[in-house]
Symmetry: C2
Subunit: 290 residues, 2 copies
């Protein structure tokens, strides 16, 4: 597997790391970046994520045999419309979007028959840092990349896109669009929303300064993801609002149970639920769910 | 400030670290440990947290001029009853309890007039690790220790206990009991409950293994505190149930607002609340609330 010319639309943490990793694995020739911020594109070029950059998507994807779309998901519609104008018939497209049903709907509407060239992917490898400055060649090492192949994809295309992500060190798996969005709502989208909600609630109080001044290491780690990109997470929450609402309702019900336990000050039940949670987390840390 | 003989009841993360830190600062003579597990006491002695250990509290506190009570808070009542039997009239008592109204009520009921010797403290320096094996001399370095002095304490006693914690590297502050329990409910107790609730909910589902297998770094940090001691957190939640319920109700109301935003898929409002939260967290990380 080798790509002569790779176009990366959105050279942030994901896009920049993809460029670095593919180059480090010597699986590509020229890498061109496309993005809104020239300063970020220059930084990406300086850091070796890309070899050059183009002024717009239409120009950038010309002659590319692999295109990665790695912007916030709300931009995908217009990007797909632009990129199909100069898309080579042998080019493959993949993406870094954290939601998949909306991305595929946008792609299908924009690409028409070229949808067969798009193999959707979600690298489950975020960080609260964003931009090309945060990119690194090892970001995907041993991280999961979920492919959600489409009925229109031929297996050779799926294999070739798998191989590209695999060359970045990722562990590949496949899911349906629906399943992907459900799983990620539970283990990623909901925790982000809760972290933002907790910090936001404290920040609004008259004694916010005092409260923050007594927040310690547990609070720091719990809320780390509340330092994530608001734009990216806004788009994810809107795109996956139905699944996220399902999770939020489920979690609210769970908090109601905790309220009842606290109201009757039930130490046995607290010990039970805390112990079950800790044991499950320890099993997860030990890799028993891999 | 120097203590000839220090008794530590509960030589876990907090108690063990206190012994190590006071010894490192050369502010004490002999340190005796008391606890339920002989294996843990032996480990504490091997690691230099304590010099010897006693079979029970009554024996252990004999001739001590400083006693630290650092067990889960539900044990404080019986410990105070035991320790007063051989308590020297010049001894000072402090503690490591994460809640303060219940601890002081237990102390007042058990100690009688000797309550004047008890200067309550809460070192805001937890970790998800527990036991003497996790103790380290630097645990309290630059961490806050909140004193909640009592009307019965004389200022010299408060100063002497402050100096002990200060010798461990802590930053001292003072609050009322009520204020302490309110502040910690918001920035510590609620996040712990949310982390346990999230992990516990996922662990109960039929597809728990799949869900955990797609959980990544954000989930790991968000839920780190769900690996904390269930016994310790059971006791904290029971002891501070009224303040914690207040926080839980407040947070549930906040989630209701998020539900409404998601139901109407409102990107502007999401961007606003996420940005406010992130900016507040960045200010906190920069130390603007210290």
């Amino acid at each position: 597997m080798y790509f002569e010319r790779v176009a990366i639309v959105g050279v942030g943490l994901i896009g920049g790391s993809f460029g670095l990793a593919l180059k480090a694995a010597k699986r590509c020739g020229h890498v061109v970046g496309i993005g809104r911020s020239v300063a970020n594109l220059k930084l990406a070029a300086d850091r070796g994520c890309i070899d050059s950059y183009a002024a717009d998507v239409e120009l950038g994807v010309k002659n590319a045999d692999l295109v990665l779309v790695a912007t916030p998901v709300a931009q995908f519609s217009s990007i797909f419309l632009s990129l199909k104008k100069n898309l080579s018939s042998n080019a493959l497209i993949t993406d870094g979007g954290s939601t998949k049903r909306d991305v595929v709907a946008a792609a299908r509407a924009a690409l028409g028959p070229a949808i067969r060239q798009f193999v959707p992917a979600h690298p489950v490898a975020g960080a609260e840092k964003s931009g090309a400055g945060a990119a690194n060649a090892e970001l995907f090492r041993n991280r999961r990349v979920v492919l959600t192949p489409l009925a229109e994809n031929d297996e050779a295309s799926v294999e070739r896109v798998s191989a590209a992500w695999g060359a970045c060190g990722a562990r590949l798996s496949r899911m349906s669009l629906e399943e992907h969005d459900e799983v990620l709502a539970a283990v990623s989208h909901l925790p982000h929303l809760l972290a933002y909600a907790l910090v936001g609630d404290i920040a609004q109080r008259p004694n916010a300064a005092q409260l923050f001044s007594y927040a310690a290491g547990g609070f720091r780690d719990f809320t780390r993801i509340a330092s994530s990109s608001p734009e990216m997470w806004r788009d994810i929450c809107v795109a996956n609002s139905d699944k996220l609402l399902g999770e939020l309702n489920r979690f609210s019900d769970s908090l109601l149970q905790y309220k009842k336990i606290l109201e009757r000050k039930d130490p046995e039940q607290l010990q039970k639920v805390f112990t079950e949670a800790r044991e499950a987390r320890e099993r997860w840390l030990k890799g028993e769910y891999e």
